[in-house]
């Protein structure tokens, strides 16, 4: 390959570049005594620019950097999800960080870098580049988890996440090494082309490698049994960071997982069984843990495990319907989960509040709108119509049934029933529980109001009229399979 003569077309990484530039500006600002209070605005400008660039990429089918970066609808769809997630984390973080005394420009810079990592993960068909993206994403996440330096819990979260993350990365890398050993390449497209040949030559190495890849991505999406870090990290990290964790890296993990397994190793039929087991375990264990939580933040952390399980059901179902259902669900989940976290963030910005269940009592009386919004998100998480949560689950289970995985769909539906218990407990507490304590009023800021508006409109609007999102998720698969 003649490197010098190859032209490098930067346009396919414009969104990533926009975010990088913005984050560099934010990082160097303190050295020049720059006005660091503008950091969130710079970060938002970066996200906006990235969104505009990404929107321009929709519908194009490009590949660049010697086939290492491929920019198709699938990747671009995920870019949009990541940008949305980061923007919401940015808006809901600001006041929280100020109140907790940890409002540093680094938060915004790291957020952007992590987003770049996710984009790289979702936009490559080369295992090494995917790994690179995963690391670019993970390192900022470790720092963000431990950002509240004076909080022991936050430190613990950072360290634990780092150790476990490094551990998982080792497996992933080893998996890639095995695959390379068997196939002689890390390019998924070439692996697909030579699949039968590779399997006949080096089946055990190949399968071991694929298995280890499952482990590596399983960690990022927090599939059981690779989930143990989740409760501690989610609880210890500052809440806006947790919100970001529960959606962004998970979606990125799924993007990479779908790329690798639905495209790259689609012919490894045994994978279906593995994912089926993972899906059942993930849904069930996540829900069972969530049942017992007395803190809304922890509850959402555990329930996010269960939601990864539902998406795994869509992965098992496969085919264009299953994958579209997965994309649909990830968008829907991003909306209502981040919305739910935004309410928690609002609750926690009151002095001395930690979003325990007991602190919710009386919310409906003091803040009828806020408690209605919280209830809406809980109904969405539980999968009730007319929220987008209903259609998300509906399409997943419908795809599973159509693909013949009826027992799996039954387990999914049962799990969904189970989850109703703890989601409705939140609603019940905020509406019906009495408290003798004075309910400290919540302070709304424009940023949080914006977040709530977007998530409420998304949750309800797409729940009433899911057509746009259905079309989006179908289009995301254009030329993917």
């Amino acid at each position: 390959m003649d490197i010098t003569s190859a032209t490098i077309d930067l346009s396919i990484i414009y969104p990533e570049l926009a975010l990088l530039v913005a984050s560099f500006v934010i990082f160097v600002m303190p050295f020049f005594r720059g006005p660091t209070r503008f950091a969130p605005f710079i970060a938002f400008a970066g996200l906006l620019a990235a969104a505009i660039f990404a929107a321009g990429q929709w519908g194009s089918q490009q590949s660049g950097f010697f086939g290492m970066v491929s920019c198709d609808n699938f990747g671009v769809a995920f870019k949009h999800i990541f940008i949305l997630t980061s923007a919401i984390a940015l808006f809901m973080g600001y006041r929280y960080l100020v109140v907790k005394g940890i409002n540093r420009p680094e938060y915004y810079g790291l957020l952007l870098i992590a987003t770049v990592g996710m984009m790289v993960m979702a936009n490559s068909t080369d295992l090494v580049v995917i790994f690179l993206g995963l690391e670019v994403m993970s390192v900022p996440l470790y720092i963000m988890a431990g950002m509240a330096r004076r909080s022991l819990e936050s430190n613990e979260a950072g360290i634990k996440y780092f150790i476990m993350g490094a551990f998982a990365s080792a497996f992933l890398l080893m998996g890639i090494a095995f695959v390379f050993g068997a196939a002689g390449t890390t390019d998924l497209r070439r692996i697909v082309a030579d699949f039968n040949f590779i399997m006949s030559n080096a089946q055990p190495f190949m399968l071991t490698g694929v298995g280890l890849l499952v482990v590596g991505f399983g960690f990022k999406i927090a599939a059981v049994p690779f989930h143990s870090w989740v409760p501690d990290v989610y609880q210890g990290a500052p809440t806006p960071v947790t919100a970001f964790f529960s959606v962004g890296p998970k979606a990125a993990g799924f993007a990479a997982l779908l790329r690798v397994f639905a495209f790259g190793f689609a012919d490894v039929t045994i994978m279906v069984t593995v994912f089926q087991m993972l899906a059942i375990l993930t849904m069930t264990v996540g829900n069972i843990f969530a049942l017992r939580q007395n803190n809304v933040k922890r509850l959402l952390a555990y329930s996010s495990i269960a939601h990864a399980g539902y998406v795994l059901v869509a992965v098992v179902a496969g085919g264009s319907e299953g994958l579209a259902a997965a994309v649909f669900y990830l968008v829907a989940y991003a909306l209502f989960n981040l919305g739910g976290f935004a309410v928690v963030v609002l609750m926690e910005t009151r002095s001395g509040c930690k979003s325990d269940f007991s602190e919710l009592a009386g919310l409906a009386r003091v803040h009828p709108y806020l408690s209605a919004i919280l209830a809406l998100f809980m109904f969405a998480l539980a999968g009730f119509p007319p929220t987008v949560g209903f259609f998300g689950k509906f399409y997943i289970f419908a795809a599973a049934v159509k693909a013949g995985y009826i027992p799996l769909a039954v387990v999914g539906v049962m799990n969904s029933f189970l989850s109703v218990y703890y989601y409705l407990r939140v609603v019940k507490t905020s509406y019906f529980d009495e408290t003798d304590k004075e309910f400290a009023p919540v302070k709304y800021t424009p940023a949080v109001v914006l977040v709530l508006t977007v998530t409420v409109i998304g949750t309800l609007g797409l729940g009433l009229f899911p057509q746009q999102l259905v079309e989006f998720s179908r289009a995301a698969l254009f030329a993917f399979l």
Partner: protein
């Protein structure tokens, strides 16, 4: 203009959202303005699209506007789409026009109510739902509107929910309607199952091919749909909720429980006429239920003393007429009566509201009398409406009712017995309506002095709608003058394209409906006019001239009177036969089945879950070492499984 069809239901929705979100924060004039102007805009637009539709050639008068796909799921595909054709055009005019007048009237009627904002919020939501119902181009969207109006009906009947009778009445209406809605749903499923679509145009087009004429499947489907109509339009045996619904504010009774919502059942049957025409058996059921309800409710109306209840039973009775028309496959006649009824019955209710308003919330006619001189406008407009409903030519009710009576006699699905019952009902109608007028406006003033000093004519916002409705009650029938007067029946002609498919389907099996000879038609018409005149004379005699006669009659036939006064004890019968067993069954299900079986099972399951989670907590130690062990465990499991194969 028809490109903006979607704005017709949208305007009231905007009003609902504005008033609803800012409840308690807007001053009354703003609430009134938002509430009324949004409905007026809908009406104005409805008029415009009506004329646009009229300008089109008769055969092509169908405008379908698909806004977007609502539920895309494999073969089940539902659009949010609107359908404007001659039938829905009539309906949107009635709903938004009469609706607007009632909104204006409410400004005066509700001006002292603390729930003013809530009232207009509900009223706008109702208008939105009703317009969605009539404009829907498929069953499911219609059902959404159908449930929406049901919800608003519930909310508005129980508007004064602090009164137990009002909140009970709301619940009764809701629960009784559930039975009907269930039938509607099942009918809808059957339609989808057989035709594979819920779209009205597609279903109408495919129905003759898919169903066998008079087969069991089509008969079941239509009867299930009709069960839905029976619930919504208060027919036997599900009519019991409507009289109780009078607990709501009077303008609500006028709008929802007289002019619009209760006619949704008739509209639905007319909308699906292509299905009904395929099954003579279901049509027979519709006709019998209709005519029996008409007669039965009219007899109850004879003995009621509450001014609104008389009107409520009268509504049930008139709806029966409309179903009679549908049952003899004269859907156009049913819709014609629906329209004229909307005018005069809304007027009667609003007039009654004006009376109640003047009488400091008194509703018992025995405590009224002699109000004519106090309430001149209310009296004269109500008198016109009474003439109209009684069927005095040439007022609107005469033409529409006579059309139904003639069709029930002459149609191929008709029967002389239908005509006889309808004919007698016409006499009863004239009697109880004039009884109402004489008891309220003539004779001795039976109210107490305190009430008397407060009697006053209602403000302009209330009387102007009355006058406008009175005008329409007079002239509304001229659009449907029957052919024996030497003109074409404009209304029937207008609706012909919508009903054409049915006529086409029917032709191959039966002769075209509506034949018969002119002499017979003239005779029957004269007979009914004579009967009405005689009835009015008797009402005059008993309730104005010689009231002691009424008393002695009441004593002579005290058993019959008591039966009528107590509405044939139907509520008591339902209480004993339906409600009580259901309550006992529910108690059993609750105390035994639910508490012991279900809760036992679920509690067991829950404690199992808790045990499992206790067990799982061992894995959640907080130590990274344990986490890594669990992780490795997973790795081994996955890789080993992959290699085992």
């Amino acid at each position: 203009m028809s490109d903006y069809l979607f704005l017709i239901p949208l305007f009231p929705l905007i009003g609902f959202i504005t008033n609803g979100l800012l409840i308690g924060r807007l001053p009354k004039p703003v609430i009134s303005f938002v509430g009324c102007s949004t409905v007026f805009l809908s009406f104005a637009l409805s008029v415009m699209v009506f004329f646009e539709l009229k300008a089109m050639p008769a055969g092509l008068r169908v405008i379908e506007q698909v806004l977007f796909t609502w539920i895309p799921s494999g073969s089940f595909h539902v659009n949010i789409g609107l359908l404007l054709d001659p039938l829905s055009a009539v309906m949107i005019l009635v709903v938004s026009g009469v609706g607007f007048l009632i909104h204006v009237y409410s400004v005066g009627y509700m001006h002292n109510d603390p729930g003013y904002g809530r009232y207009f919020t509900y009223l706008n939501l109702f208008t939105f739902a009703m317009l969605t119902l009539v404009l829907a181009d498929n069953f499911l969207l219609m059902f959404v509107g159908w449930e929406g109006v049901g919800l608003c009906s519930y909310l508005l009947i129980g508007f004064w929910f602090e009164k137990k009778s009002a909140s009970d009445a709301g619940k009764k209406a809701f629960i009784v309607n559930r039975i009907g809605d269930f039938g509607f749903l099942l009918g809808m499923f059957l339609v989808f199952w057989t035709v594979g679509s819920l779209d009205f145009l597609t279903v109408s087009e495919k129905a003759p091919e898919v169903f066998t004429y008079g087969g069991a499947l089509i008969t079941t489907t239509c009867i299930l749909l009709f069960v839905g109509a029976v619930g919504k339009s208060a027919q036997i045996p599900l009519y019991v909720w409507l009289p109780d619904a009078m607990e709501g504010p009077t303008p609500v009774s006028a709008l929802i429980h007289a002019a619009t919502m209760v006619t949704a059942g008739v509209y639905m049957v007319a909308r699906t006429n292509a299905l009904f025409i395929l099954t003579p058996d279901a049509l027979l059921v519709v006709a019998i239920i209709g005519v029996v309800t008409a007669f039965f409710a009219a007899t109850i109306g004879l003995a009621q003393n509450d001014i609104k209840r008389v009107l409520a039973y009268s509504t049930v009775s008139q709806l029966g007429y409309m179903f009679l028309a549908c049952g003899v496959a004269s859907f156009a006649a049913g819709i014609f009566h629906l329209m004229t009824h909307a005018f005069f019955k809304a007027l009667l209710f609003l007039g009654a509201g004006s009376v109640i308003h003047a009488m400091s919330d008194e509703q018992d006619m025995r405590n009224m009398g002699g109000l004519k001189k106090y309430l001149p406008i209310t009296f004269s407009t109500m008198f016109i409406a009474t003439l109209a409903i009684a069927g005095i030519p040439p007022l609107s009710g005469f033409f529409s009712k006579d059309e139904i009576l003639w069709k029930s006699f002459s149609s191929d699905f008709g029967h002389p017995l239908f005509w006889i019952l309808g004919f007698v009902t016409a006499g009863l109608t004239a009697f109880y309506m004039f009884r109402l007028v004489f008891m309220t406006f003539y004779g001795k003033e039976r109210m107490d002095d305190k009430t008397r000093t407060h009697i006053h004519e209602s403000p302009k916002t209330m009387t102007i709608p009355l006058i406008i409705l009175a005008v329409f009650s007079v002239i509304g029938g001229f659009v449907g003058i029957p052919h024996i007067f030497g003109v074409t029946n404009q209304f029937e002609h207008w609706l012909e394209p919508v009903m054409a498919t049915s006529a086409g389907a029917a032709e191959s099996h039966v002769l075209a409906a509506g034949g018969g000879d002119t002499g017979m038609e003239w005779t029957l018409m004269l007979l009914s006019v004579v009967l009405v005149a005689v009835s009015i004379y008797f009402a005059h005699l008993l309730y104005k001239k010689r009231t002691e006669l009424a008393t002695s009659l009441r004593e002579r036939f005290s058993g019959l009177h008591r039966t009528l006064l107590n509405k044939y004890y139907v509520d008591e019968f339902y209480g004993a036969v339906v409600v009580r067993p259901v309550v006992y069954l529910s108690l059993f299900l609750w105390k035994v089945f639910d508490v012991v079986v279900i809760d036992g099972f679920l509690n067991g399951l829950a404690s199992r879950y808790h045990e499992v989670s206790e067990f799982l907590r061992f894995g959640q130690t907080g130590r990274v070492r344990t986490y890594a062990t669990v992780f490795i465990f997973g790795v081994v499991l996955v890789v080993a499984y992959m290699l085992m194969d």
